[in-house]
């Protein structure tokens, strides 16, 4: 059976070019970048070259990039780093951030920091007025994600950056889902901290990065050696870093266009051909690869189970698929009822998604929904 992978919001396939770049760093160029001998210097060169590549992708200086183990670590370091450096103060974030941001801010609240969680509208856009009104004299950080991982809504980070600039507040954005899909330039926008994760854009797992604008001070969260500007101890994951850097270069404009076209084809088909289905998130300001639909009277994990039986990998915001049996906080925050959140299906495309893959989904999905609705006591 041909496998159709439409869960690229969870993770992506590593690009062959990335693997090829990485391989020598396991058994040939295996040195420790802190060693002064030639093997070490070989690794050091790869590390700094990779740093230049990543910096280049967002118009930053190489010295403003540090490598981490992934998106969660980058978000933790950015938020805790600012908070503990300042010692006290107020943090603003949104209600639909990734758990690694929300749990981190909650943890800081326990340590005496104060926090405001901003509402979003029914499409997932942050309430800018509420954001403005929440700013206090002691606000030290605003953290709002670039694009949402579940519903794909792209936040107006330009306006948030302006606001932060005006009030002299540090602005952090979690760009884990958007990086390489939406251009971002730290020259154009006053963003102070940006989190990235390699495996979301065809790089390897276990590697991420954090952009830290010059003169922004963070308190380190990992103690040990003096790697990564003394901000992140631990021997650098050179193969991962090389892979991460390579992955930032390989996505083409035509890939974005293609994903957008296929995304729209899938959304249009579902909305026009399946009754009682609703799009979650914004139609216009939406990640090029994200489709998130709620179907009435059926449960998302069951939809996913039947899609999987047809070789299609998907995900859901249903409570049944979560370990807590709570539906997605994002879907609840945008105002979905429990039933609507349970009936959600997320399909996330990649540059490898072909039109025939989408055609196959279009072919099998209506029958799956029909079958499950027939089996459902909710009519």
């Amino acid at each position: 059976m041909n496998l159709i992978y439409l869960d690229n919001g969870a993770t992506t396939k590593v690009d062959d070019k990335v693997i090829k770049k990485m391989l020598p760093y396991f058994n040939e160029k295996f040195g420790n970048a802190s060693s002064l001998h030639q093997k070490g210097q070989e690794a050091r060169m790869a590390l700094e070259e990779s740093r230049r590549t990543v910096a280049n992708a967002i118009s930053a200086k190489p010295s403003e990039i540090i490598f981490t183990s992934g998106g969660s670590e980058s978000n933790n370091l950015a938020i805790k780093g600012v908070a503990y450096e300042k010692g006290r103060g107020h943090i603003i974030t949104s209600k639909i951030e990734h758990p690694c941001v929300l749990r981190t801010v909650e943890e800081l609240e326990k340590k005496g920091f104060e926090a405001t969680y901003i509402d979003v509208d029914s499409e997932g856009f942050i309430d800018l007025d509420q954001l403005k009104n929440s700013i206090r004299k002691d606000t030290i950080l605003i953290s709002v994600m670039h694009a949402n991982n579940e519903i794909g809504t792209i936040q107006p980070i330009e306006q948030i950056a302006e606001l932060c600039k005006k009030h002299d507040i540090i602005f952090h954005t979690d760009a884990v889902q958007s990086f390489t899909k939406i251009p971002i330039s730290v020259k154009k926008l006053k963003i102070d901290l940006i989190s990235f994760s390699g495996h979301k854009f065809h790089g390897p797992k276990g590697i991420g990065a954090l952009y830290i604008r010059e003169r922004i001070k963070l308190k380190k969260q990992m103690h040990g050696g003096s790697q990564e500007r003394k901000l992140r101890a631990g021997t650098e994951n050179i193969s991962g870093i090389v892979g991460f850097a390579e992955a930032t270069k390989i996505i083409k404009n035509s890939d974005i266009k293609n994903m957008t076209k296929l995304r729209d084809k899938l959304i249009d088909f579902i909305l026009n051909n399946i009754d009682n289905a609703r799009l979650n998130g914004s139609r216009e300001r939406r990640l090029c690869n994200n489709v998130n639909i709620s179907f009435d009277a059926v449960e998302g994990e069951a939809i996913g189970g039947y899609l999987d039986a047809k070789g299609i990998c998907s995900s859901t915001g249903s409570a049944c698929s979560s370990k807590s049996l709570e539906p997605s906080h994002v879907l609840k925050t945008i105002g979905l009822t429990h039933e609507e959140a349970h009936g959600s299906l997320r399909l996330t495309l990649s540059k490898y998604t072909k039109e025939k893959d989408i055609d196959f989904v279009i072919k099998v999905l209506p029958d799956i929904i029909k079958k499950l609705r027939k089996m459902s006591p909710i009519k």
Binding site: G305, P377, I378
Partner: protein
């Protein structure tokens, strides 16, 4: 979380997911907030479960548990069927993830309610 092969087979190939016309008893349990709703239909003749079916709104485990229960109790006497426990469903499915065990309890609860409805009626 992992589902057993048998559980997935029941989910993919349900034989009892349908309505029974003129049932001897029906019962519904669960609510949309918890994420699952079970409805059981019974056809009883000479104290025996002549036919049984379900409609389930819920996850893979909820559907598979409903299917398993129907397969186990069809043909049994009411007394025998009442003795079927969530563990019997669990064993039939070849284990159920702990977080999904409530689905098996819910099926039993729905069935017991259906039997109660039947006994009150007759």
């Amino acid at each position: 979380m992992m589902y057993s092969e048998k559980l997935m087979d029941y989910f993919k190939n349900p034989k009892f997911a349908r309505e029974i016309k003129n049932p001897s008893a029906v019962a519904e349990e669960g609510n949309i907030k918890c994420g699952d709703i079970f409805k059981i239909f019974l056809k009883i003749k000479n104290n025996k479960i002549k036919d049984i079916s379900y409609l389930t709104y819920g996850c893979i485990a909820a559907i598979a548990a409903s299917e398993s229960f129907c397969r186990i109790v069809k043909g049994k006497t009411i007394e025998e069927a009442k003795k079927v426990s969530y563990e019997d469903i669990k064993n039939d499915l070849g284990d159920v993830p702990a977080i999904k065990l409530h689905c098996t309890h819910m099926v039993i609860k729905t069935f017991k309610k259906a039997i109660e409805n039947y006994e009150n009626k007759n």
